[in-house]
C-alpha cells in the first residue's frame, strides 16, 4: 500500500465497502403510502435513501445496514422492515 504525504486519502472512498451485507432486516417501500416528505432520506445514517426528481425515494441495498430508523420515523408507515433472506 502506498501511503500519501500526510496520510491523505481520496474523498468518498468508503464506497468500496458495501455495508449492505450487515443487514438483518430490509426496508420494504410502500410507494402508495409515501407522501414524499423526505424525512427517511434526511435521517438515514448511511446515505442509502435517495430522493428522486419526483421526490419518491429509492433504497440503496448495497449500503443499507437495516437499522430501521426510516421505518420507525416514517409518519405514514410507508416503510416496513422485513427479515432479510439470504
Amino acid at each position: 500500500m502506498k501511503v500519501m504525504i500526510g496520510g491523505a486519502v481520496k474523498p468518498g472512498t468508503t464506497r468500496v465497502n458495501k455495508t449492505g451485507g450487515w443487514r438483518n432486516f430490509r426496508p420494504l417501500y410502500h410507494k402508495d403510502k409515501c407522501v414524499k416528505c423526505g424525512l427517511c432520506s434526511l435521517l438515514c445514517p448511511d446515505s442509502s435513501i435517495q430522493e428522486q426528481e419526483d421526490k419518491y425515494v429509492i433504497f440503496d441495498y448495497d449500503y443499507c445496514k437495516g437499522c430501521g430508523i426510516c421505518a420507525n420515523e416514517c409518519p405514514k408507515d410507508a416503510i416496513e422492515m422485513v427479515l432479510e433472506e439470504k
Partner: protein, 290 residues
C-alpha cells in the same frame, strides 16, 4: 450538499453519522472539518478510505479546537478565507474531558470557528467508558451499578454554560431528533463571526442499549422529559428556548434504554429515579421550559 459517503463503518442506526450529515447539510460544501479521534473519526476514515467529501483533518483529542484555530488563521494569512467555514466536530469525551483546555483557548481568543460537540454521553469508540457528559446513574463499563452504586455518580457537566462563560457570541443546544432546529442553529453558528458552539444530544444505540431503529425516538424522549433542554445563548444570555408543553415523566426516557435498566430492578431504584426527575424539574425551572 455533501453528506458522508455510504460504506462508512458506523454501527447500524449511528447517531454520529446523522449528526455529521446535519452539519454538512446546514453548512454546504465550503467547509473544512477538524475531527479528533473518536467514533466519527474511526468509522469515517479507515485508512486508505474516507467517507468525507469536504476537506477534513484528523487531530488529537487535546488540540481539536486549536487545529481549527490554526486553519482559520492560515486561511486569513493566505488571503483565502472567503466564506469558508472552519468547523471542529468532536465527541463528548474529546470535548468536555480531554479537549477542554484547547477549546477554552480558542473561545478565549474568539477565533472564527464553530465547535460542534456530538454528545453520546460516554466514550463509545473504546467500549462505553463514562465521560464528564455521562448522565447521573447511567451504567457504563467504568460506572457499573452494584452493591456500592447505581451507576455513574455525577451529573452531566454543563459544557454550554462553560463556553458561554468565555463570552462566546453564540452557544446552542440541539438534538439529532430535531433536524430542522439543529440545522438552523448550525447555520446560525457558522454565520456568526467569532468562536461559536453547538452541543448536540446524540443517542447511541450501541452504548445506551436500545434497538437501532430508535435513535431518533430516544432523542425526542430526552427533550420531552426535559432532561435535554433545547436553547440558544447569545453573548452569555439565554435568548430562546424550545418549550415542552407537558413534560413526560423521566421514566419514559429511562425505561427505553438498557443503561438505566438497573434503576427498575434494584432495591432503592425508585428513589434514584426521583433524583433524575429532580434534574428534569431543575431544567424546567432554570430554562423556563413550560
Amino acid at each position: 450538499m455533501s453528506r458522508l459517503a455510504p460504506g462508512h463503518r458506523g454501527c447500524a442506526g449511528c447517531c454520529d453519522a446523522i449528526a455529521a450529515n446535519f452539519v454538512l447539510e446546514a453548512v454546504g460544501d465550503d467547509a473544512i472539518i477538524v475531527n479528533p479521534t473518536g467514533c466519527l473519526e474511526v468509522m469515517t476514515t479507515p485508512y486508505p478510505e474516507s467517507a468525507w467529501e469536504v476537506p477534513w483533518i484528523h487531530s488529537l483529542f487535546e488540540n481539536t479546537a486549536p487545529v481549527a484555530s490554526g486553519i482559520e488563521a492560515a486561511l486569513r494569512a493566505l488571503g483565502r478565507k472567503g466564506d469558508t467555514k472552519v468547523i471542529a466536530m468532536g465527541g463528548d469525551g474529546a470535548t468536555v474531558d480531554i479537549g477542554i483546555l484547547g477549546i477554552s483557548g480558542t473561545f478565549e481568543r474568539g477565533d472564527d470557528i464553530t465547535y460542534v460537540c456530538i454528545d453520546n454521553e460516554a466514550y463509545m469508540n473504546t467500549g462505553v467508558q463514562r465521560s464528564g457528559a455521562t448522565p447521573f446513574n447511567a451504567s457504563t463499563s467504568t460506572s457499573p451499578p452494584g452493591s456500592q452504586s447505581f451507576g455513574n455518580s455525577r451529573p452531566k457537566k454543563n459544557m454550554p454554560a462553560i463556553i458561554a462563560a468565555h463570552g462566546s457570541p453564540y452557544v446552542a443546544t440541539t438534538s439529532i431528533s430535531y433536524p430542522k432546529d439543529m440545522m438552523r442553529k448550525v447555520k446560525k453558528a457558522v454565520d456568526i463571526e467569532g468562536a461559536t458552539y453547538i452541543h448536540t444530544h446524540a443517542p447511541c444505540a450501541t452504548g445506551w442499549r436500545f434497538d437501532t431503529s430508535k435513535t431518533i425516538e430516544i432523542g425526542k424522549l430526552a427533550v420531552e422529559t426535559a432532561l435535554w433542554p433545547l436553547y440558544e445563548m447569545e453573548d452569555g444570555e439565554i435568548t430562546s428556548v424550545r418549550k415542552v408543553k407537558k413534560p413526560k415523566p423521566v421514566e419514559e426516557y429511562l425505561k427505553a434504554q438498557g443503561r438505566f435498566k438497573h434503576l427498575f430492578t434494584m432495591e432503592g431504584g425508585k428513589e434514584e429515579i426521583s433524583k433524575i426527575q429532580d434534574i428534569a424539574n431543575w431544567n424546567i425551572e432554570h430554562y423556563g421550559l413550560l
